[in-house]
């Protein structure tokens, strides 16, 4: 039976759903209705495809990393080059799609939350293009860590609002964006940046990113005459991973690996590995794996990459984990940093620190699988935004 989740109420088995305050429910229903119409509307899909091609620059290529493969001496490592997209990451796939939905709904104001700033930039980008007002909520801590992206958003005309509550990071930015939405629900469209949140967001954000996996599947067939033996992607909220995984779910011969941020180690409290080290709970409108303490309070997380620094994860990943269809593993800060350097030097491709987690795991997996196998890694973003972080960690003054 082909994979059809979520159900009409947004459930992936026991995960997902719509756990928000009553004020937002009608807005979510309206969004769900409008999105389902868009999904079945050929004109909408044609408009979306045109934007993918002309604005984002899709299809993004797959690239056989030959020197990297030779260095490991195992399976072929292929990179899906989402880093080549307009604005430098997969995030734009989703914001372009949601902006089209917002336009159809007649909304005049876009809001978004952002951690590393990539989703904020991608949201500010589509807002500029459509001439819409844009407000981006960003934790105060992240604003300091990602000054360049904050400036990029402001150049694009967005208002960046610092969030000072809680841990002052992504999860608090999401709370604040939800509060804005509750208050301005009549004219405002909330562009959630990942496959978390209440239904229909996990489904909608997945659909807009599934172009990654659809292209990659076709490209691998053309280049190798077969599907990859494994697909690998990093998982924070999980949007690039689900985008890659989704079109492969029914291909049983393709193993799927989601790579979470193990931060300073899974045996410490300083990581962001909700699936590997968390447990089911409810956060930000959906039931999923989360990181919380014994009282049910959400824990502060840590990762070298701001984009993975989130205590929840998309509910579809929770389902894929429990069903055994996908495997979830952790890569710590040091391993990710080493992979960042290795890919940069071996191929002249500087990956985002988020994507470096996926690369690091692929290096291990390539060795295990051995030659004549093929691994496809989602290179979800480019590393330009991270050079300051890397310099700082290594004590280098730029």
């Amino acid at each position: 039976m082909p994979y059809t989740l979520p159900d009409a109420e947004g459930h992936f088995g026991e995960f997902g759903g719509i756990y928000v305050a009553e004020t937002l429910i009608p807005a979510l229903r309206e969004l769900q209705e409008c999105y389902l119409q868009c999904r079945n509307d050929q004109n909408f899909q044609a408009e979306l495809d045109a934007d993918y091609q002309d604005y984002i620059g899709r299809p993004s290529p797959i690239y056989l990393a030959q020197r990297l493969t030779a260095q490991v001496g195992g399976a072929n490592i292929w990179l899906k080059r989402e880093d080549l997209n307009h604005t430098g990451a997969h995030k734009i796939n989703n914001t372009v799609g949601q902006a089209l939905v917002a336009k159809r709904m007649g909304k005049t104001r876009l809001i978004a939350e952002t951690g590393a700033g990539q989703h904020g930039v991608a949201s500010a980008t589509v807002a500029a293009r459509l001439g819409l007002e844009c407000v981006v909520y960003m934790g105060e801590t992240d604003i300091q860590r990602q000054a360049i992206n904050v400036f990029r958003m402001r150049l694009l005309g967005a208002k960046v609002v610092p969030v000072t509550s809680g841990s002052k990071t992504l999860k608090d930015a999401l709370n604040e964006a939800l509060r804005d939405w509750v208050t301005n629900v009549d004219n405002t469209f909330y562009i959630i940046g990942t496959v978390a949140g209440p239904h229909p967001y996990p489904m909608m954000v997945r659909d807009f990113n599934a172009v990654i996996g659809r292209e990659a599947r076709q490209q691998m067939l053309e280049r190798c005459g077969k599907l990859p033996d494994a697909v690998v992607a990093c998982v924070g909220g999980g949007s690039n991973a689900i985008g890659l995984f989704h079109p492969f779910i029914d291909d049983d011969e393709v193993a799927m690996y989601g790579v979470e941020a193990a931060g300073h180690g899974l045996n410490t409290d300083e990581h962001a590995a909700s699936l590997v080290a968390g447990r089911p709970g409810v956060l930000h409108g959906n039931r999923t794996y989360i990181l919380d303490d014994e009282a049910g309070q959400i824990r502060e997380t840590h990762s070298i990459s701001a984009g993975l620094d989130y205590p929840g994860v998309g509910p579809e990943h929770a389902w894929l984990k429990d069903s055994g269809r996908a495997n979830y593993v952790g890569i710590d800060d040091d391993e990710a940093l080493a992979a960042f350097h290795q890919l940069t030097r071996a191929e002249g491709i500087m990956p985002a620190l988020e994507s470096s987690h996926a690369v690091a795991y692929a290096l291990k997996l390539a060795k295990q699988l051995g030659p004549d196998k093929d691994i496809l890694v989602n290179l979800s973003g480019r590393g330009d935004k991270d050079v300051h972080t890397v310099a700082e960690i290594e004590g280098i003054e730029v």
């Binding site: 109420e9 759903g17 719509i18 756990y19 928000v20 305050a21 009553e22 004020t23 937002l24 429910i25 009608p26 807005a27 509550s165 809680g166 999860k171 608090d172 999401l174 709370n175 939800l178 509060r179 509750v182 208050t183 301005n184 629900v185 009549d186 709970g281 409810v282 956060l283 930000h284 409108g285 989360i290 919380d292 014994e294 009282a295 049910g296 309070q297 959400i298």
Partner: protein, 268 residues
């Protein structure tokens, strides 16, 4: 649950609305939680809402957010909240207690364990902000079986068909959110709320309480003309914030709640 009904019945006989007061357990401190609750009753509060602090209170404004953070820092958790309820119940056998919070701390405590402990602590109702009618049907049934009312929210955005569905799964009372926004918002439109509450009362036999953004006696008095209950939260939480002694805390509660009780025509 019976205490809720008795309280609303009594208020109706007295031709006035019930005053519902919210405080967050553990704020401003663990030690002052019970004195604050006690003074709320002494100042004319008819129904007590005890907030269960949560790290990510997405429907709350800055006042209750900060109070929650402080309460968590002070070591308050679900077990502590239920202990507070039990101690309160020992002193005030007839005042209804509603717990208000978010789902995750309850799930972590354990649904069954929560219902047992809440029953033993004399809790009358539970309001879970992030559990709309679509989710948590079993939890609501279990609460009802234990004679604990699942209190449901109706928002200004809730359409007619949906209102019927929501009130159908509620017990105790229906909580009408008076603003499109978060707790403590300053955009209350009394006329609009009055007409919505009147419509709502045509749909349900349950009492209707109104809250979110109610802070002044004038607002409370106007809403009391149509509603069965008026909820005041952020204004009280802000008033007791920073109170260091029991004397200060009690004085702040009194200064905030007594004028509200008077506005509702409560006879002391």
């Amino acid at each position: 649950m019976k205490r809720l009904q008795q309280t609303f019945d009594r208020c109706r006989q007295q031709k006035r609305a019930a005053l519902v007061g919210y405080m967050c357990a553990g704020h401003p401190s663990q030690q002052l939680t019970l004195p604050v609750l006690d003074e709320m009753v002494a100042s004319g509060v008819d129904i007590i809402e005890i907030g269960v602090p949560f790290s990510d209170p997405m429907a709350d404004g800055p006042v209750i957010q900060r109070a929650s953070e402080q309460a968590i820092d002070n070591g308050m958790n679900m077990q502590g909240v239920l202990a507070v309820a039990k101690q309160f119940r020992a002193v005030h056998p007839d005042v209804p207690v509603v717990l208000m919070g978010y789902l995750n701390p309850l799930l972590r405590f354990g649904t069954q364990r929560f219902i047992e402990t809440a029953t033993a602590s004399g809790v009358d109702g539970v309001l879970l902000v992030d559990l709309p009618v679509e989710e948590g049907r079993e939890l609501r049934l279990s609460l009802q079986q234990a004679q604990i009312a699942p209190i449901m929210l109706v928002a200004p955005t809730t359409g007619v068909t949906r209102v019927a569905q929501v009130v159908d799964s509620a017990a105790g009372f229906v909580y009408f959110i008076s603003v499109k926004g978060i707790t403590g918002s300053g955009r209350l439109d009394v006329d609009d709320v009055q007409s919505r509450v009147e419509q709502l009362k045509d749909t349900t036999g349950l009492p209707v309480a109104v809250g979110f953004g109610v802070s002044t006696p004038e607002q409370a008095g106007a809403l009391a003309q149509v509603a069965d209950g008026v909820v005041v939260g952020s204004a009280l939480v802000a008033a007791i914030d920073g109170a260091g002694t029991e004397v200060d805390a009690r004085a702040a509660v009194r200064a905030t709640m007594k004028p509200l009780a008077d506005a509702l025509g409560k006879v002391h």
